[in-house]
Amino acid sequence: MATRHITKAPRMGTKALYLPNFRIVLLNDPKLSPHFASFLVPLNLNKLDLRDYLYNCYGIPVRSVRSYIQMQKVQQDKNNAKRVSPRRWHRPRSIKKMMVEMDDPFVWPKTPEDFSQWDKDFVEKREKANKKARDAQGPGGASKPPAERKSIAEQAKELLEGKKEWRRDDNEYEDEIVEEDADGEWEEVEQNVKI
């Protein structure tokens, strides 16, 4: 009588790794099924390594692993170049992603809608201003017309068409301090100012 062959459970690695020095990043992919999780991993990590790592370090039994290496686009100069030199072609290092199938489902927490705690508005404004300054410094930046030119042109057109009258405000600041009374006498407005 032939004994039924029992399929062996996947064996874990036996080689002990004492001081590993790499990081993996859990990726948020909303289209992914809850039973799957994808990771950014270093290029030298293989499927068996990730399975053992997740089981021993995080206690996640993994059913299967799929791996994918994504080549990066060619770009001019390296990412950390202070000044991009043209035609110095560089291809950034490829990215390796792995998708694991788990027994238990996992869903990411919901992304908050209000980013005020992260100063999103301020950061966006800063980025915008930085980009503007960078573009002005970059090639062809000096020849570009400044943003004020449009406004100046509009004002000049209004003056030429007679819609506005030219007025030179020499006493601009005096007007704020001194006002003419109904009696026609000058009166000091800021009475309580201590100098």
Binding site: Y18, L19, P20, N21, R23, I24, V25, L26, L27, N28, P30, K31, P34, A37, L40, L54, C57, Y58, G59, I60, D104, P105, F106, V107, W108, P109, K110, T111, P112, F115, Q117, W118, D119, K120, D121, F122, V123, E124
Partner: protein, 262 residues
């Protein structure tokens, strides 16, 4: 068998003709059954007949999604339709103790706020780590590994949704973790060199038995401070008396001048 197969198409042709009411006269029946000898078709396959063969599955294709020719028992049951909108799907009950939670600081937020990220202490110093056993250091290393994974995930997700600031804070956090890891390696390297040096000293020391037979450490007769004999104590005093004869250096000469009574 052979005759039946040869007759079958002819019979079918007759049946078809009857349906179409173009039936040939009955007296022509023998001529139809007679083997055709005069004709010489270009191809052996008869084109006028359909289906060409007796294949029951002809025309059934999974690729063209034709479906089966006959209904099955499950045909009346409607197929479930996939819910394409993720918002309409039922919420997944995630285990509180799922291992992937270790990639997060908070179970309610995908990434921490900058204020939360700043709430951390300093890394371990080498001096503190020197007192720890290898098991402790090893455990701390893995804690650091998981913390770095957490920081990287936090940062990646924050930049993916363009939430705003936080890179500086997570960088400072990562710096402290890496400093701790550096300290662990430093401590272990120190221990390794200490071990190597001790291995050399072992052979020079007479109190240590290298042969491996008997006790490894045999201390010689130690002299404790309480049991110091008087003769030994007297010796340093005699030495100091001898030293007085030696002319003192220049610096002490100057001092002696000051000490002179006026």
């Amino acid at each position: 068998m052979a005759t039946s197969t040869s007759i079958r198409p002819v019979a079918r042709r007759l049946l078809k003709a009857n349906i179409a009411q173009n039936a040939p006269p009955t007296f022509l029946l023998p001529s139809l059954l007679a083997p055709v000898q005069q004709s010489s078709p270009f191809s052996s396959t008869s084109t006028s007949l359909y289906p060409r063969d007796m294949n029951r599955q002809r025309g059934v294709s999974t690729r063209r999604r034709t479906g089966l020719r006959q209904p099955l028992s499950v045909s009346k049951t409607p197929l479930p339709k996939p819910v394409l909108d993720p918002a309409k799907r039922p919420e997944v009950d995630v285990d509180v103790h799922h291992g992937l939670w270790d990639f997060f600081y908070n179970k309610k937020k995908p990434f921490a706020t900058p204020l939360e990220l700043t709430q951390h202490g300093r890394g371990w110093t080498v001096e503190e780590l020197r007192h720890k056993s290898f098991e402790d250091l090893h455990a701390l290393w893995w804690v650091c590994c998981k913390e770095r994974n957490r920081i990287a995930t936090d940062k990646y997700e924050r930049n993916r949704v363009k939430a705003g600031s936080g890179d500086l804070e997570s960088g400072a956090r990562d710096f402290n973790v890496r400093r701790t890891m550096r300290g662990i390696k430093h401590t272990l390297t120190e221990r390794y060199y200490a071990y190597r040096e001790a291995d050399v000293l072992m052979y020079e020391d007479e109190e240590i038995d290298v042969t491996g037979q008997g006790p490894p450490y045999i201390p010689k007769e130690a002299v404790l401070e309480d049991e110091v004999p008087e003769e030994v104590e007297a010796a340093p005093a005699a030495e100091s008396a001898d030293k007085t004869d030696i002319p003192p250096p220049a610096a002490t000469e100057k001092g002696s001048v000051v000490e002179k009574p006026l």
